[in-house]
């Protein structure tokens, strides 16, 4: 919508003003004039809203127990902290640019470490790209491959950035839901009960399907896709010549003896899969913003082109720190001293603690097989808790989440959580407005603070 009036007034005003910058009347008028030309660029249509902005605002407004956003509130392991200290106080040349596609010692380690896991000989230059977090890796992949009109299959519930990234690339997101099946009698609901309908999944592939995004372990459910489930997805990707974008940031966080399987390691899949990982999630240092993509050179070269025309380089010292972390982990991998073993062991205890606490107040958590998160079904309370804050027509999960934030007991503040509906496409949100997501990768003190509040609210939560 062109505001012709504004354009005309800008044109008239311009020549009248002298060249003196700083005249206060000039400044005052300038504040109100805006460009008439199309802004923003159309690729931003529909993607300006971000659910985390409201969430972060709320978590800053209220001094709450933060069980929402996915980051640890404890320190990274000692060796990681040391690695970063060394990287930032060592060779002063680490303060300068490194190689564009990745700090060489890091790409070398990623190639050897993941090459073993994926059963591939990886070249540090051709098969590895270091990015600004796994988030940056995802963006780079979408921009490299998705054209206007291409379809991208997204398995819901999905990390919320896949849809806007698809849209920004001009693609069309095609959603297919994981659906809860009732658990076998007497057993607890687990994330493995949420499954894809194979026929429904197959029906989503068309001649325009460019890519499928697979997130395992899954955020927010914590589902760890089984080999059989991966084979189903792999078969369809091969049949329809589709690229698989595998978001595996939580790959080490698997519980109860479950195995994380990388789809790229299945027959026929290395040549069509981009495997994304995260140093932030691997080493509990989300603030370092170092991620990576592994894949075949004929696809990776396109990601390199996007990378060199968007950020070009990633920060050197953070990469040097991550390299050292991998060096450490490589030495201990598979042994009890490995962080990739110790960390999930510790988080399993956190998970179990949280599940127990939630159950003790009548809430229904879904036991996750992996990841940082679990979801809780709050539908039982729809009838018992009519007096929630917010408007009557506001989604239920939003009102329940607000209640948990604002519900103080004495001087203690509430808990902040994330609505699971934000991980669904708009049309499906209303069907999934009765779940909240909890993050259990938190300090013992945080979990105890949660326990305190849950116990105090027990009375209100009971019918």
């Amino acid at each position: 919508m062109l505001r012709r009036a504004a354009a005309i007034s800008v044109h008239l005003v311009g020549p009248f003003w002298g060249r003196k910058a700083g005249a206060s009347l000039t400044r005052c008028l300038h504040q109100t004039l805006t460009m008439a030309k199309q802004l923003p660029a159309r690729r931003l249509d529909g993607i300006d809203h971000n659910p985390w902005v409201e969430f972060i605002k709320l978590s800053n407004e209220y001094d709450v127990v933060n069980l929402g956003q996915g980051f640890p509130d404890f320190s990274p392991p000692d060796f990681a902290v040391k690695a970063f200290q060394q990287a930032t106080s060592g060779d002063f040349m680490l303060n300068q640019y490194t190689m564009a596609f990745g700090y060489p010692p890091l790409t070398k380690l990623l190639a050897s470490f993941f090459g073993k896991l994926l059963g591939q000989e990886l070249d540090p230059f051709k098969n590895v790209l270091v990015t600004v977090g796994a988030y940056g890796a995802l963006f780079t992949a979408f921009q490299a491959l998705v054209d206007k009109g291409d379809e991208v299959i997204i398995i819901e519930p999905a990390f919320d950035c896949y849809e806007p990234m698809t849209l920004m690339a001009g693609g069309r997101p095609v959603f297919v839901s994981l659906k809860p099946n009732p658990a076998p009698k007497g057993q607890l609901d687990t994330s493995s009960d949420w499954q894809l309908d194979p026929t429904e999944l197959a029906s989503k592939f068309t001649s325009r399907t460019k890519a499928l995004v697979l997130n395992t372990p899954n955020n927010p459910l914590g589902k760890v896709f089984s080999k059989a489930e991966l084979e189903l997805v792999a078969g369809l990707c091969q049949q329809h010549d589709t690229v698989c974008i595998a978001d595996e940031v939580y790959q080490w966080l698997v519980y109860d003896g479950h195995q994380h399987v990388s789809i790229a390691s299945l027959p026929g899949m290395w040549g069509r899969t981009l495997t994304i990982g995260s140093a932030g999630k691997s080493f509990s240092a989300t603030g370092w913003k170092v991620g990576w993509v592994l894949g075949p050179d004929n696809i990776m070269k396109h990601l390199r082109t996007v990378h060199q025309n968007s950020v070009f380089h990633c920060p050197t010292q953070a990469q040097a720190a991550v390299a050292q972390c991998f060096e450490q982990e490589q030495q201990h991998f598979g042994q009890p001293s490995s962080y990739f073993l110790q960390f999930p062991q510790a988080m399993q205890l956190n998970r179990d603690h949280m599940i127990h606490s939630l159950q003790s107040v009548g809430l229904k958590p879904l036991t996750p097989q992996g990841s940082y998160f679990l979801i809780v079904d709050i539908s039982d309370f729809k009838s018992t808790m009519p007096s929630l804050p917010g408007a009557v027509d506001e989604p239920y999960d939003r009102r329940f989440a607000k209640w948990m934030i604002k519900n103080k007991v004495g001087s203690s503040t509430g808990c902040i959580l994330v609505k699971v509906s934000i991980f669904f496409s708009r049309p499906h949100q209303k069907d999934f407005d009765h779940y909240l997501r909890f993050c259990f990768v938190k300090d013992e003190a945080t979990l105890q603070a949660m326990d305190e509040r849950l116990q105090k609210w027990k009375a209100e939560l009971q019918p």
Binding site: V10, G14, R19, K20, A21, G22, R27, H30, Q31, T34, M35, K37, P40, A41, R43, L44, D48, A80, V81, Q85, A87, T88, S89, F92, N95, Y97, V132, G133, Y135, G136, F139, Q143, A144, L145, V146, D147, D150, M165, M168, D241, V243, G268, R272, S284, T286, G287, W288, K289, I299, K301, H302, R304, Q308, N309, S310, V311, H313, P315, T316, A318
Partner: protein
């Protein structure tokens, strides 16, 4: 830079032709693992795969080569800057995510610093965005504000990423070369180079969305004057155009020159995006932190791009940068402030480079700002017969010089569009933000070269 693509282009750079080639390749492969068709790149990156830095950084990586190529200091950042990063590395909570649009203490410091220069209050949350280097700011600005079919005016030579970034947004770059005023005998200065006013006016059309301004300029070192900026501002206002002002070298201005912000000119704040760089400000290019300052109605779109690309930048680096800023904000008028001491230090190095290049009979263009100097190298009359014949003269020269003289630089035609390459292909860019021993080594090579000639 685009000569590599020319060879591809000779097959037809249109997607159709490449599709045909790819399809015919498929027929040759039996296995499903070699599907080339769908793995073709998205159209937005067609023809953007080659990059001058990738090519030349590899060449200069040989440790026996004296590297005056890439714009990377080999001097240490100031001690207090390194100390702040060490401190940040010891602070636990800095290991986790911070605010997406910029770490609170950093945007506050930037707001405080720049208020002095813009002479207005700058809202740290709404009028500032922290990005992955100034490179990231350029990307966010172009992705956020430029549509397919838009025209973007770029002055030649230009920092090489402007063209591919504009093309990646499916927009059309419109080029205008800087031209030298006639000079004879006297020193050739970057201020002798300017755009022709009428020629610039002719480049504006109804499709012009933005003009990219780089001052101080890379590679020439030109510091745009008040008069020049006023011409650009007048045209932006007349044609309702945005100005993306790349001011990464804003502190590196030499005696007799002043850096002016076009955003402070009347009518310009609301249509200007101004970009800065931690890497160039504090000699920490590896921190990859930059920022954009502008009115909220523009910044909010760059913020939308941010939340759909990287989301947030590294926390400890942002905190260290904030603390480094606070130190220098307190002494912004003192000679010890790095913003004042670095240009003094570099002016000496600049003068040394000028003298050195002149001593071999070259005519360098003395930069008024920045940390590069360009010189016409054709008078050296190097024997380039061994080099690839289809590359511009300066590409061949730099490769020959790196191989035979163990001195590297960057060809200036890498900073040119195809049409203007011939105007600048005799020029080579040298970086002088280097320690004395590096410049000594370069001096030795150049002296030896000179004595070989005579």
């Amino acid at each position: 830079m685009f000569l590599a693509q020319r060879r591809l282009c000779s097959l037809g750079s249109r997607a159709k032709s490449l599709k045909t080639i790819c399809s015919s390749k498929i027929l040759g492969f039996a296995t499903s693992a070699n599907m080339a068709f769908k793995f073709k790149n998205a159209k937005r990156i067609e023809g953007l795969d080659s990059n001058v830095w990738i090519e030349f950084t590899k060449l200069a990586a040989d440790p026996s080569v004296v590297n005056l190529g890439q714009g990377l200091p080999d001097i240490s950042p100031p001690t207090y800057v390194k100390e702040e990063l060490s401190k940040a590395a010891l602070t636990d909570h800095l290991n986790q995510y911070t605010r997406g649009f910029g770490h609170p203490s950093l945007v506050k410091a930037l707001s405080c610093l720049y208020e002095k220069f813009y002479q207005k209050q700058i809202d740290p949350n709404k009028e500032i965005l922290v990005t992955v280097g100034a490179y990231g700011s350029l990307f966010n600005a172009i992705q956020g504000l430029i549509d397919p079919g838009d025209e973007v005016i770029i002055m030649v030579p230009f920092y090489d990423c402007y063209e591919p970034m504009v093309r990646m947004a499916r927009a059309t770059p419109v080029f205008i070369p800087l031209r030298s005023k006639p000079t004879s005998g006297t020193k050739w200065s970057s201020s002798d180079w300017t755009f022709e006013r009428q020629e610039l006016e002719s480049k504006f059309s109804s499709k012009t969305k933005a003009i990219i301004l780089n001052t101080p300029h890379n590679p020439m070192g030109k510091v745009y004057t008040k008069e020049e900026l006023q011409v650009i501002a007048d045209l932006c206002i007349k044609h309702d155009t945005l100005c993306i002002s790349d001011e990464v070298y804003e502190w590196l201005v030499y005696t007799g020159n002043k850096h002016l912000k076009i955003a402070t000119f009347p009518g310009m704040w609301e249509r200007t995006i101004t970009i800065g760089s931690a890497g160039k400000t504090f000699s920490v290019t590896g921190w990859k932190l930059g920022w954009t300052i502008g009115p909220n109605h523009l910044i909010k779109h760059l913020q939308t791009v941010q939340q759909n690309t990287v989301y947030t930048c590294a926390t400890p680096l942002q905190e260290a940068l904030a603390q480094a800023f606070w130190i220098d904000i307190k002494r912004v008028d003192d000679p010890e402030c790095y913003f004042n001491s670095l240009p003094k230090e570099l002016e000496v190095k600049r003068d040394r480079m000028v003298h050195l290049l002149e001593s071999v009979g070259l005519r360098p263009i003395v930069p008024d700002g920045g940390y590069f100097i360009i010189a016409d190298v054709s008078s050296l009359d190097a024997d380039l017969s061994d080099m690839k014949s289809d590359e511009p003269y300066d590409y061949k020269f730099v490769k020959w010089m790196t191989k035979n003289k163990k001195l590297s630089a960057i060809p200036v035609s890498a900073f040119c569009d195809t049409e203007s390459k011939s105007q600048f292909e005799k020029f080579v860019r040298f970086c002088f933000i280097k320690k004395d021993s590096t410049l000594d080594a370069a001096a030795e090579i150049i002296r030896a070269w000179n004595s070989q000639k005579s």
